[in-house]
Protein backbone atom coordinates (compact mmCIF):
# COMPACT_ATOMS: atom_id res chain seq x y z
CA UNK A 1 0.00 0.00 0.00
CA UNK A 2 2.97 2.21 -0.30
CA UNK A 3 2.17 5.32 -2.16
CA UNK A 4 5.32 5.23 -4.20
CA UNK A 5 5.44 3.14 -7.31
CA UNK A 6 8.48 1.10 -6.44
CA UNK A 7 10.69 1.08 -3.45
CA UNK A 8 14.01 -0.50 -2.64
CA UNK A 9 14.29 -3.42 -0.28
CA UNK A 10 17.59 -4.63 1.04
CA UNK A 11 17.74 -8.14 2.31
CA UNK A 12 20.88 -9.14 4.07
CA UNK A 13 23.67 -9.35 4.88
CA UNK A 14 22.33 -10.18 8.31
CA UNK A 15 18.92 -11.54 7.53
CA UNK A 16 17.30 -14.33 9.50
CA UNK A 17 16.41 -16.28 6.39
CA UNK A 18 19.94 -16.66 5.18
CA UNK A 19 22.47 -18.01 7.49
CA UNK A 20 25.16 -16.54 5.33
CA UNK A 21 25.96 -12.93 4.75
CA UNK A 22 25.00 -11.83 1.30
CA UNK A 23 23.02 -8.82 0.34
CA UNK A 24 20.18 -8.66 -2.13
CA UNK A 25 19.00 -5.28 -3.25
CA UNK A 26 15.52 -5.49 -4.66
CA UNK A 27 13.30 -3.01 -6.30
CA UNK A 28 9.79 -3.84 -5.20
CA UNK A 29 6.42 -2.76 -6.45
CA UNK A 30 3.72 -3.62 -3.97
CA UNK A 31 4.74 -7.14 -3.14
CA UNK A 32 6.28 -7.89 -6.49
CA UNK A 33 9.95 -8.01 -7.28
CA UNK A 34 10.92 -5.81 -10.20
CA UNK A 35 14.67 -5.93 -10.27
CA UNK A 36 17.32 -7.51 -8.17
CA UNK A 37 20.96 -6.90 -7.55
CA UNK A 38 23.21 -9.12 -5.53
CA UNK A 39 26.10 -7.94 -3.48
CA UNK A 40 28.58 -10.64 -2.64
CA UNK A 41 31.78 -10.52 -0.79
CA UNK A 42 30.81 -10.48 2.85
CA UNK A 43 32.39 -13.84 3.45
CA UNK A 44 35.35 -13.45 1.21
CA UNK A 45 38.24 -14.87 3.19
CA UNK A 46 40.88 -15.10 0.49
CA UNK A 47 41.11 -18.85 0.65
CA UNK A 48 43.04 -19.16 -2.60
CA UNK A 49 45.44 -16.58 -1.37
CA UNK A 50 46.02 -18.34 1.94
CA UNK A 51 46.40 -21.62 0.12
CA UNK A 52 49.46 -20.42 -1.71
CA UNK A 53 51.25 -19.92 1.61
CA UNK A 54 50.47 -23.39 2.87
CA UNK A 55 51.64 -26.91 2.21
CA UNK A 56 49.62 -29.55 0.47
CA UNK A 57 48.35 -31.18 3.63
CA UNK A 58 47.39 -28.01 5.43
CA UNK A 59 45.35 -26.90 2.44
CA UNK A 60 43.04 -29.85 2.91
CA UNK A 61 41.78 -28.44 6.17
CA UNK A 62 41.57 -24.98 4.81
CA UNK A 63 39.49 -26.15 1.88
CA UNK A 64 37.18 -28.07 4.13
CA UNK A 65 36.39 -24.74 5.69
CA UNK A 66 35.51 -23.01 2.47
CA UNK A 67 32.12 -24.26 3.36
CA UNK A 68 31.27 -26.52 6.19
CA UNK A 69 28.08 -27.91 4.73
CA UNK A 70 29.54 -30.00 1.97
CA UNK A 71 32.91 -29.97 3.52
CA UNK A 72 34.19 -33.00 1.65
CA UNK A 73 33.58 -31.63 -1.84
CA UNK A 74 36.33 -29.07 -2.01
CA UNK A 75 39.08 -31.30 -0.56
CA UNK A 76 37.86 -34.05 -2.85
CA UNK A 77 38.18 -31.92 -5.95
CA UNK A 78 41.51 -30.66 -4.72
CA UNK A 79 42.83 -34.15 -4.08
CA UNK A 80 41.67 -35.22 -7.50
CA UNK A 81 43.43 -32.26 -9.07
CA UNK A 82 46.69 -32.83 -7.23
CA UNK A 83 46.55 -36.56 -7.83
CA UNK A 84 46.08 -35.91 -11.51
CA UNK A 85 49.00 -33.52 -11.59
CA UNK A 86 51.26 -35.87 -9.63
CA UNK A 87 49.89 -38.96 -11.34
CA UNK A 88 49.09 -40.70 -8.09
CA UNK A 89 46.90 -43.75 -8.33
CA UNK A 90 44.47 -43.98 -5.43
CA UNK A 91 43.91 -47.48 -4.02
CA UNK A 92 40.46 -48.89 -4.90
CA UNK A 93 39.35 -49.24 -1.29
CA UNK A 94 40.11 -45.58 -0.73
CA UNK A 95 38.01 -44.75 -3.76
CA UNK A 96 35.07 -46.60 -2.32
CA UNK A 97 35.49 -44.98 1.08
CA UNK A 98 35.66 -41.59 -0.57
CA UNK A 99 32.44 -42.36 -2.38
CA UNK A 100 30.73 -43.47 0.80
CA UNK A 101 31.78 -40.35 2.66
CA UNK A 102 30.77 -38.18 -0.25
CA UNK A 103 27.34 -39.75 -0.48
CA UNK A 104 26.78 -39.61 3.25
CA UNK A 105 27.54 -35.97 2.99
CA UNK A 106 25.10 -35.55 0.12
CA UNK A 107 22.51 -37.25 2.27
CA UNK A 108 23.03 -34.86 5.14
CA UNK A 109 23.27 -31.88 2.85
CA UNK A 110 20.01 -32.60 1.06
CA UNK A 111 18.18 -33.26 4.29
CA UNK A 112 19.59 -30.02 5.60
CA UNK A 113 18.43 -28.22 2.52
CA UNK A 114 14.93 -29.61 2.74
CA UNK A 115 14.74 -28.40 6.30
CA UNK A 116 16.02 -24.98 5.43
CA UNK A 117 13.60 -24.72 2.53
CA UNK A 118 10.75 -25.64 4.85
CA UNK A 119 11.94 -23.05 7.31
CA UNK A 120 11.99 -20.39 4.63
CA UNK A 121 8.32 -20.90 3.98
CA UNK A 122 7.50 -21.01 7.65
CA UNK A 123 7.02 -24.74 8.01
CA UNK A 124 9.13 -25.26 11.08
CA UNK A 125 7.76 -28.65 11.97
CA UNK A 126 9.09 -30.09 8.75
CA UNK A 127 12.34 -28.27 9.33
CA UNK A 128 12.72 -29.93 12.71
CA UNK A 129 11.61 -33.25 11.32
CA UNK A 130 14.17 -33.42 8.52
CA UNK A 131 16.93 -32.15 10.72
CA UNK A 132 16.05 -34.74 13.27
CA UNK A 133 16.37 -37.46 10.64
CA UNK A 134 19.65 -35.91 9.61
CA UNK A 135 21.17 -36.45 13.04
CA UNK A 136 21.50 -40.11 12.17
CA UNK A 137 23.84 -39.54 9.26
CA UNK A 138 25.86 -37.08 11.29
CA UNK A 139 26.28 -39.69 14.00
CA UNK A 140 27.40 -42.12 11.38
CA UNK A 141 29.90 -39.65 9.94
CA UNK A 142 31.16 -38.86 13.40
CA UNK A 143 31.76 -42.50 14.10
CA UNK A 144 33.57 -43.08 10.84
CA UNK A 145 35.60 -39.91 10.63
CA UNK A 146 35.78 -38.58 14.16
CA UNK A 147 33.88 -35.38 13.54
CA UNK A 148 30.29 -34.47 12.82
CA UNK A 149 31.14 -31.82 10.29
CA UNK A 150 34.46 -30.99 8.64
CA UNK A 151 35.44 -34.62 8.70
CA UNK A 152 39.09 -34.26 7.83
CA UNK A 153 39.19 -37.71 6.33
CA UNK A 154 40.49 -37.11 2.84
CA UNK A 155 44.11 -36.88 2.09
CA UNK A 156 46.12 -36.80 -1.08
CA UNK A 157 46.41 -40.32 -2.32
CA UNK A 158 43.59 -41.81 -0.34
CA UNK A 159 41.77 -41.42 2.92
CA UNK A 160 43.13 -41.04 6.40
CA UNK A 161 40.94 -43.57 8.09
CA UNK A 162 39.72 -46.92 6.99
CA UNK A 163 36.15 -48.03 7.46
CA UNK A 164 37.09 -51.01 9.52
CA UNK A 165 34.76 -54.02 9.62
CA UNK A 166 33.65 -53.12 13.13
CA UNK A 167 32.20 -49.93 11.64
CA UNK A 168 30.12 -51.82 9.06
CA UNK A 169 27.21 -52.36 11.42
CA UNK A 170 27.08 -48.63 12.13
CA UNK A 171 26.90 -47.90 8.46
CA UNK A 172 24.42 -50.67 7.82
CA UNK A 173 22.22 -49.43 10.60
CA UNK A 174 22.27 -45.96 9.14
CA UNK A 175 21.31 -47.29 5.73
CA UNK A 176 18.48 -49.36 7.14
CA UNK A 177 17.23 -46.36 9.00
CA UNK A 178 17.09 -44.27 5.88
CA UNK A 179 15.55 -46.99 3.74
CA UNK A 180 12.98 -47.23 6.46
CA UNK A 181 12.25 -43.57 6.81
CA UNK A 182 12.57 -42.46 3.22
CA UNK A 183 9.11 -43.23 1.88
CA UNK A 184 7.35 -41.53 4.75
CA UNK A 185 9.65 -38.52 4.57
CA UNK A 186 9.09 -38.23 0.85
CA UNK A 187 5.36 -38.12 1.36
CA UNK A 188 5.59 -35.59 4.16
CA UNK A 189 7.80 -33.32 2.16
CA UNK A 190 6.39 -33.56 -1.33
CA UNK A 191 2.71 -34.19 -0.71
CA UNK A 192 2.06 -31.35 1.69
CA UNK A 193 -0.57 -29.05 0.29
CA UNK A 194 0.91 -25.87 1.64
CA UNK A 195 4.37 -26.75 0.37
CA UNK A 196 2.99 -27.35 -3.09
CA UNK A 197 1.15 -24.04 -2.90
CA UNK A 198 4.34 -22.25 -2.05
CA UNK A 199 6.74 -24.05 -4.33
CA UNK A 200 4.98 -24.90 -7.54
CA UNK A 201 5.46 -22.43 -10.37
CA UNK A 202 7.73 -20.27 -8.28
CA UNK A 203 11.22 -19.27 -9.28
CA UNK A 204 11.13 -20.91 -12.66
CA UNK A 205 14.37 -21.57 -14.51
CA UNK A 206 13.54 -22.79 -17.96
CA UNK A 207 15.48 -25.48 -19.74
CA UNK A 208 16.97 -22.94 -22.12
CA UNK A 209 18.02 -20.61 -19.36
CA UNK A 210 19.50 -23.46 -17.37
CA UNK A 211 21.68 -24.23 -20.36
CA UNK A 212 22.43 -20.64 -21.17
CA UNK A 213 23.43 -19.74 -17.64
CA UNK A 214 25.41 -22.93 -17.07
CA UNK A 215 23.37 -24.09 -14.14
CA UNK A 216 24.83 -27.10 -12.40
CA UNK A 217 23.75 -29.77 -9.98
CA UNK A 218 20.16 -30.25 -8.86
CA UNK A 219 19.28 -26.78 -10.13
CA UNK A 220 20.13 -27.86 -13.66
CA UNK A 221 18.60 -31.30 -13.26
CA UNK A 222 15.33 -29.78 -12.06
CA UNK A 223 15.19 -27.79 -15.26
CA UNK A 224 15.55 -30.93 -17.27
CA UNK A 225 19.26 -30.73 -17.99
CA UNK A 226 20.70 -34.17 -17.27
CA UNK A 227 23.97 -32.85 -15.95
CA UNK A 228 25.77 -34.78 -13.25
CA UNK A 229 29.53 -34.98 -12.90
CA UNK A 230 29.19 -38.36 -11.27
CA UNK A 231 27.83 -39.68 -14.55
CA UNK A 232 29.56 -37.41 -17.03
CA UNK A 233 33.08 -37.53 -15.62
CA UNK A 234 32.94 -40.36 -13.12
CA UNK A 235 35.64 -40.62 -10.48
CA UNK A 236 36.07 -42.71 -7.34
CA UNK A 237 33.63 -45.62 -7.33
CA UNK A 238 31.15 -44.07 -9.70
CA UNK A 239 32.52 -45.71 -12.85
CA UNK A 240 31.61 -49.06 -11.32
CA UNK A 241 27.98 -48.15 -10.76
CA UNK A 242 26.29 -48.92 -14.00
CA UNK A 243 22.79 -47.89 -13.03
CA UNK A 244 23.78 -44.40 -12.00
CA UNK A 245 21.99 -41.71 -13.94
CA UNK A 246 21.07 -38.10 -13.23
CA UNK A 247 17.90 -37.70 -11.22
CA UNK A 248 15.13 -35.82 -12.92
CA UNK A 249 11.70 -34.66 -11.84
CA UNK A 250 10.44 -37.27 -14.28
CA UNK A 251 11.34 -39.86 -11.66
CA UNK A 252 8.46 -38.47 -9.66
CA UNK A 253 6.29 -38.38 -12.74
CA UNK A 254 6.46 -34.67 -13.24
CA UNK A 255 7.48 -32.94 -16.42
CA UNK A 256 10.51 -30.81 -15.50
CA UNK A 257 9.47 -27.20 -15.26
CA UNK A 258 12.40 -25.87 -13.36
CA UNK A 259 10.45 -24.46 -10.44
CA UNK A 260 11.27 -24.73 -6.79
CA UNK A 261 9.14 -27.79 -6.41
CA UNK A 262 11.14 -29.59 -9.09
CA UNK A 263 14.33 -28.82 -7.28
CA UNK A 264 12.76 -30.21 -4.17
CA UNK A 265 11.81 -33.39 -6.00
CA UNK A 266 15.30 -33.79 -7.39
CA UNK A 267 16.91 -33.41 -4.01
CA UNK A 268 14.54 -35.71 -2.23
CA UNK A 269 15.04 -38.37 -4.86
CA UNK A 270 18.78 -37.93 -4.72
CA UNK A 271 18.58 -38.85 -1.07
CA UNK A 272 17.39 -42.25 -2.14
CA UNK A 273 19.99 -42.45 -4.85
CA UNK A 274 22.70 -41.73 -2.30
CA UNK A 275 21.48 -44.50 -0.04
CA UNK A 276 21.60 -46.87 -2.97
CA UNK A 277 25.13 -45.80 -3.87
CA UNK A 278 26.34 -46.30 -0.33
CA UNK A 279 24.71 -49.68 -0.30
CA UNK A 280 26.44 -50.58 -3.53
CA UNK A 281 29.82 -49.46 -2.19
CA UNK A 282 29.41 -51.48 0.96
CA UNK A 283 28.50 -54.58 -0.93
CA UNK A 284 31.36 -54.22 -3.37
CA UNK A 285 33.99 -52.81 -1.06
CA UNK A 286 37.44 -53.89 -2.28
CA UNK A 287 40.13 -54.92 0.17
CA UNK A 288 43.49 -53.30 0.45
CA UNK A 289 45.23 -50.18 1.57
CA UNK A 290 43.41 -46.92 1.92
CA UNK A 291 46.30 -44.60 1.34
CA UNK A 292 49.35 -44.53 -0.87
CA UNK A 293 51.38 -42.70 1.72
CA UNK A 294 50.18 -42.32 5.29
CA UNK A 295 53.01 -40.02 6.33
CA UNK A 296 52.21 -36.44 5.61
CA UNK A 297 55.81 -35.35 5.43
CA UNK A 298 56.64 -37.95 2.83
CA UNK A 299 53.64 -37.04 0.76
CA UNK A 300 54.68 -33.42 0.79
CA UNK A 301 58.14 -34.19 -0.30
CA UNK A 302 56.84 -36.42 -3.09
CA UNK A 303 54.63 -33.64 -4.31
CA UNK A 304 57.45 -31.18 -4.08
CA UNK A 305 59.15 -32.99 -6.90
CA UNK A 306 56.17 -32.59 -9.18
CA UNK A 307 55.75 -30.00 -11.83
CA UNK A 308 52.46 -29.92 -13.63
CA UNK A 309 48.84 -29.07 -13.42
CA UNK A 310 45.68 -30.90 -12.64
CA UNK A 311 41.95 -30.42 -12.62
CA UNK A 312 39.60 -32.08 -10.20
CA UNK A 313 35.86 -32.18 -10.77
CA UNK A 314 33.44 -33.48 -8.28
CA UNK A 315 29.70 -33.42 -7.97
CA UNK A 316 29.04 -31.67 -4.69
CA UNK A 317 25.50 -31.80 -3.34
CA UNK A 318 24.94 -28.41 -4.92
CA UNK A 319 26.55 -29.16 -8.23
CA UNK A 320 29.90 -29.29 -9.82
CA UNK A 321 32.95 -28.20 -7.86
CA UNK A 322 36.14 -27.94 -9.80
CA UNK A 323 39.66 -27.22 -8.70
CA UNK A 324 42.61 -26.33 -10.80
CA UNK A 325 46.08 -26.59 -9.33
CA UNK A 326 49.53 -25.87 -10.64
CA UNK A 327 52.33 -27.73 -8.92
CA UNK A 328 55.74 -26.23 -9.32
CA UNK A 329 58.29 -27.79 -7.02
CA UNK A 330 56.88 -26.09 -3.98
CA UNK A 331 55.58 -27.38 -0.69
CA UNK A 332 52.23 -26.19 -1.77
CA UNK A 333 50.61 -25.45 -5.10
CA UNK A 334 51.87 -22.50 -7.04
CA UNK A 335 48.34 -21.57 -7.96
CA UNK A 336 44.99 -22.83 -6.94
CA UNK A 337 41.66 -21.97 -8.48
CA UNK A 338 38.32 -22.94 -7.01
CA UNK A 339 35.10 -22.95 -8.90
CA UNK A 340 32.15 -23.67 -6.72
CA UNK A 341 28.59 -24.54 -7.79
CA UNK A 342 26.94 -21.42 -6.41
CA UNK A 343 29.30 -19.51 -8.65
CA UNK A 344 27.35 -20.89 -11.58
CA UNK A 345 23.95 -21.18 -10.04
CA UNK A 346 23.96 -17.78 -8.41
CA UNK A 347 23.57 -16.15 -11.78
CA UNK A 348 20.39 -18.05 -12.45
CA UNK A 349 18.74 -16.17 -9.56
CA UNK A 350 18.32 -13.28 -11.89
CA UNK A 351 16.05 -15.38 -14.09
CA UNK A 352 14.28 -16.96 -11.18
CA UNK A 353 13.30 -13.60 -9.73
CA UNK A 354 11.07 -12.98 -12.71
CA UNK A 355 7.56 -12.66 -11.45
CA UNK A 356 7.97 -13.47 -7.77
CA UNK A 357 6.69 -11.83 -4.64
CA UNK A 358 8.57 -10.74 -1.56
CA UNK A 359 7.37 -13.85 0.17
CA UNK A 360 9.01 -16.00 -2.50
CA UNK A 361 12.39 -14.40 -2.21
CA UNK A 362 13.74 -16.64 0.57
CA UNK A 363 12.58 -19.87 -0.97
CA UNK A 364 13.79 -18.89 -4.43
CA UNK A 365 17.17 -17.96 -3.05
CA UNK A 366 17.31 -21.11 -1.03
CA UNK A 367 16.18 -23.24 -3.94
CA UNK A 368 19.61 -23.41 -5.53
CA UNK A 369 20.93 -24.32 -2.12
CA UNK A 370 23.48 -21.58 -2.05
CA UNK A 371 26.45 -21.59 0.16
CA UNK A 372 27.84 -18.23 -0.49
CA UNK A 373 30.91 -19.06 1.51
CA UNK A 374 32.74 -20.46 -1.45
CA UNK A 375 31.33 -18.19 -4.11
CA UNK A 376 32.69 -15.07 -2.51
CA UNK A 377 35.53 -14.33 -4.80
CA UNK A 378 36.76 -10.98 -3.81
CA UNK A 379 36.13 -7.83 -1.98
CA UNK A 380 38.22 -4.84 -2.60
CA UNK A 381 39.37 -2.95 0.42
CA UNK A 382 41.87 -0.22 0.04
CA UNK A 383 44.03 0.90 2.89
CA UNK A 384 41.73 3.70 3.89
CA UNK A 385 38.87 1.28 4.24
CA UNK A 386 37.11 2.87 1.31
CA UNK A 387 35.53 0.31 -0.94
CA UNK A 388 35.28 0.40 -4.62
CA UNK A 389 33.91 -2.00 -7.10
CA UNK A 390 36.06 -3.38 -9.79
CA UNK A 391 34.91 -3.22 -13.32
CA UNK A 392 35.46 -6.03 -15.74
CA UNK A 393 38.20 -3.98 -17.40
CA UNK A 394 40.01 -3.74 -14.09
CA UNK A 395 39.67 -7.42 -13.55
CA UNK A 396 40.99 -8.17 -16.99
CA UNK A 397 43.99 -5.92 -16.45
CA UNK A 398 44.73 -7.50 -13.11
CA UNK A 399 44.42 -11.03 -14.41
CA UNK A 400 46.70 -10.28 -17.34
CA UNK A 401 49.28 -8.95 -14.93
CA UNK A 402 48.95 -11.92 -12.71
CA UNK A 403 49.18 -14.35 -15.57
CA UNK A 404 52.38 -12.70 -16.74
CA UNK A 405 53.82 -12.87 -13.25
CA UNK A 406 53.04 -16.51 -12.91
CA UNK A 407 53.90 -17.39 -16.44
CA UNK A 408 57.44 -16.19 -16.34
Amino acid sequence: MSTRQTYPLHIGPTHPAFKEPVQFNFEIEGERVITCDIEFGYTHRAVEHIARERNFIQILYLLERICGICSVSHPMAYCLAVEQAAEIEVPPRAKYIRTIIGELERLHSHLLWTGVAAHEIGFDTLFLYTWNIREKVLDCLETITGNRINYGILTIGGVRRDITPDLYPVLQETLDYYYDVFERAREIILDNMSIQLRCKNVGILSHENALAYCAVGPTARASGVPRDVRVDYPVNAYPDIEWLKPVSPLDAGREPRGDVYDRMIVRVHEIHQSIDIINFCMENMPEGAVDVEPKATKMISTLKKVQGEGIGRYEAPRGEVSHYDILDNREGPLLMKVKAPTYSNGITWMKMFDNVEIADIPIVIASIDPCVACADRMSFVDSGGRRSIMTSADLHRLSVEKQRRIGK
Binding site: I50, G68, I69, N132
Partner: protein, 151 residues
Protein backbone atom coordinates in the same frame (compact mmCIF):
# COMPACT_ATOMS: atom_id res chain seq x y z
CA UNK B 1 31.70 -8.55 30.05
CA UNK B 2 28.75 -6.95 31.71
CA UNK B 3 28.95 -3.32 30.98
CA UNK B 4 26.02 -1.84 32.77
CA UNK B 5 24.71 -2.77 36.09
CA UNK B 6 21.42 -3.99 34.79
CA UNK B 7 20.03 -7.04 36.40
CA UNK B 8 20.73 -10.02 34.22
CA UNK B 9 18.76 -12.41 36.35
CA UNK B 10 15.83 -12.89 34.05
CA UNK B 11 18.10 -13.51 31.13
CA UNK B 12 18.90 -16.92 32.46
CA UNK B 13 15.54 -18.46 31.78
CA UNK B 14 14.85 -16.63 28.58
CA UNK B 15 17.72 -16.15 26.22
CA UNK B 16 16.75 -14.93 22.79
CA UNK B 17 19.54 -15.29 20.34
CA UNK B 18 20.33 -13.53 17.12
CA UNK B 19 22.63 -15.44 14.91
CA UNK B 20 25.24 -13.36 13.19
CA UNK B 21 27.40 -14.88 10.50
CA UNK B 22 30.45 -12.76 9.93
CA UNK B 23 32.11 -14.88 7.29
CA UNK B 24 32.14 -18.35 8.67
CA UNK B 25 32.21 -21.59 6.76
CA UNK B 26 28.57 -22.39 7.68
CA UNK B 27 29.53 -25.39 9.73
CA UNK B 28 29.20 -23.54 12.98
CA UNK B 29 25.97 -21.98 11.79
CA UNK B 30 24.35 -25.28 11.06
CA UNK B 31 25.52 -26.60 14.38
CA UNK B 32 23.76 -23.70 16.05
CA UNK B 33 20.61 -24.67 14.24
CA UNK B 34 21.21 -28.27 15.17
CA UNK B 35 21.29 -27.17 18.79
CA UNK B 36 17.68 -26.13 18.38
CA UNK B 37 16.71 -29.42 16.83
CA UNK B 38 14.68 -32.03 18.67
CA UNK B 39 17.78 -33.98 19.63
CA UNK B 40 19.26 -31.12 21.65
CA UNK B 41 16.24 -28.82 21.90
CA UNK B 42 17.73 -25.65 23.26
CA UNK B 43 14.24 -24.21 23.48
CA UNK B 44 13.69 -26.12 26.68
CA UNK B 45 16.04 -23.57 28.24
CA UNK B 46 13.99 -20.73 26.83
CA UNK B 47 16.45 -20.18 24.04
CA UNK B 48 15.06 -19.24 20.71
CA UNK B 49 16.41 -17.70 17.57
CA UNK B 50 14.90 -14.34 16.75
CA UNK B 51 14.82 -12.57 13.44
CA UNK B 52 16.01 -9.16 14.46
CA UNK B 53 18.75 -7.93 16.77
CA UNK B 54 16.22 -5.72 18.52
CA UNK B 55 14.67 -8.76 20.13
CA UNK B 56 17.92 -10.43 21.00
CA UNK B 57 19.60 -10.89 24.35
CA UNK B 58 22.56 -12.74 23.04
CA UNK B 59 24.47 -12.55 19.81
CA UNK B 60 25.74 -15.85 18.56
CA UNK B 61 28.62 -14.85 16.35
CA UNK B 62 30.27 -17.27 13.99
CA UNK B 63 33.15 -16.77 11.65
CA UNK B 64 35.97 -14.38 11.89
CA UNK B 65 34.96 -10.92 10.85
CA UNK B 66 35.71 -10.13 7.22
CA UNK B 67 36.68 -6.62 6.26
CA UNK B 68 33.51 -6.11 4.36
CA UNK B 69 31.13 -7.09 7.11
CA UNK B 70 32.92 -5.30 9.93
CA UNK B 71 30.59 -2.30 9.99
CA UNK B 72 27.49 -4.44 9.90
CA UNK B 73 28.71 -6.39 12.90
CA UNK B 74 29.13 -3.21 14.87
CA UNK B 75 25.73 -2.00 13.78
CA UNK B 76 24.01 -5.20 14.75
CA UNK B 77 25.77 -5.15 18.07
CA UNK B 78 24.52 -1.65 18.74
CA UNK B 79 20.98 -2.62 17.82
CA UNK B 80 20.80 -5.22 20.55
CA UNK B 81 19.23 -3.67 23.61
CA UNK B 82 21.03 -3.83 26.93
CA UNK B 83 21.73 -6.04 28.77
CA UNK B 84 23.34 -8.22 26.15
CA UNK B 85 25.74 -11.08 25.90
CA UNK B 86 27.96 -12.14 23.05
CA UNK B 87 28.87 -15.74 22.51
CA UNK B 88 31.43 -16.61 19.88
CA UNK B 89 31.01 -20.00 18.35
CA UNK B 90 33.89 -21.71 16.65
CA UNK B 91 37.60 -21.41 16.56
CA UNK B 92 37.79 -19.03 13.64
CA UNK B 93 35.65 -16.47 15.43
CA UNK B 94 37.79 -16.60 18.53
CA UNK B 95 41.18 -16.53 16.93
CA UNK B 96 40.79 -16.55 13.15
CA UNK B 97 41.33 -20.31 13.34
CA UNK B 98 42.33 -21.75 10.05
CA UNK B 99 42.32 -18.44 8.23
CA UNK B 100 45.30 -16.98 10.02
CA UNK B 101 47.06 -15.20 7.18
CA UNK B 102 44.07 -13.91 5.29
CA UNK B 103 44.23 -10.31 4.18
CA UNK B 104 40.47 -10.05 4.10
CA UNK B 105 39.96 -10.71 7.77
CA UNK B 106 39.43 -7.95 10.26
CA UNK B 107 38.77 -10.36 13.09
CA UNK B 108 38.80 -11.95 15.47
CA UNK B 109 35.56 -10.72 16.88
CA UNK B 110 36.79 -9.62 20.25
CA UNK B 111 38.74 -6.93 18.46
CA UNK B 112 35.46 -5.11 17.86
CA UNK B 113 32.93 -6.11 20.40
CA UNK B 114 33.25 -7.44 23.90
CA UNK B 115 32.79 -11.18 24.02
CA UNK B 116 31.44 -13.03 27.01
CA UNK B 117 31.85 -16.66 26.15
CA UNK B 118 34.09 -18.42 23.65
CA UNK B 119 33.11 -21.83 22.40
CA UNK B 120 36.07 -23.39 20.60
CA UNK B 121 35.73 -26.21 18.15
CA UNK B 122 35.70 -26.30 14.41
CA UNK B 123 32.80 -26.66 14.56
CA UNK B 124 31.82 -27.37 18.15
CA UNK B 125 29.32 -30.14 18.71
CA UNK B 126 25.82 -28.99 19.66
CA UNK B 127 26.45 -30.22 23.18
CA UNK B 128 29.49 -28.02 23.34
CA UNK B 129 27.30 -25.10 22.37
CA UNK B 130 24.86 -26.02 25.12
CA UNK B 131 27.78 -26.15 27.47
CA UNK B 132 28.82 -22.73 26.31
CA UNK B 133 25.37 -21.46 27.10
CA UNK B 134 25.71 -22.99 30.54
CA UNK B 135 28.87 -20.96 30.86
CA UNK B 136 26.85 -17.90 29.98
CA UNK B 137 24.43 -18.75 32.78
CA UNK B 138 27.36 -18.99 35.07
CA UNK B 139 28.35 -15.53 34.07
CA UNK B 140 24.84 -14.29 34.69
CA UNK B 141 24.86 -15.86 38.11
CA UNK B 142 28.15 -14.28 38.96
CA UNK B 143 26.98 -10.88 37.92
CA UNK B 144 23.90 -11.40 40.04
CA UNK B 145 26.08 -12.21 43.00
CA UNK B 146 28.20 -9.16 42.39
CA UNK B 147 25.14 -7.00 42.10
CA UNK B 148 23.79 -8.52 45.27
CA UNK B 149 27.03 -7.87 47.08
CA UNK B 150 27.23 -4.32 45.82
CA UNK B 151 23.77 -3.33 46.85
Amino acid sequence: MIRKKISLKNLKRSLWAFHLNTGSCNACDIEILATLMPRYDAERFGIKLVGTPRHADVLLVTGTVTEKIKDKVLRVYEQVPEPKLVIVIGGCGSTKGVFQESYAMAGPIDNFIPVDVFIPGCPPRPEAIVYGIAKAWEKIEESEKRNGAAS
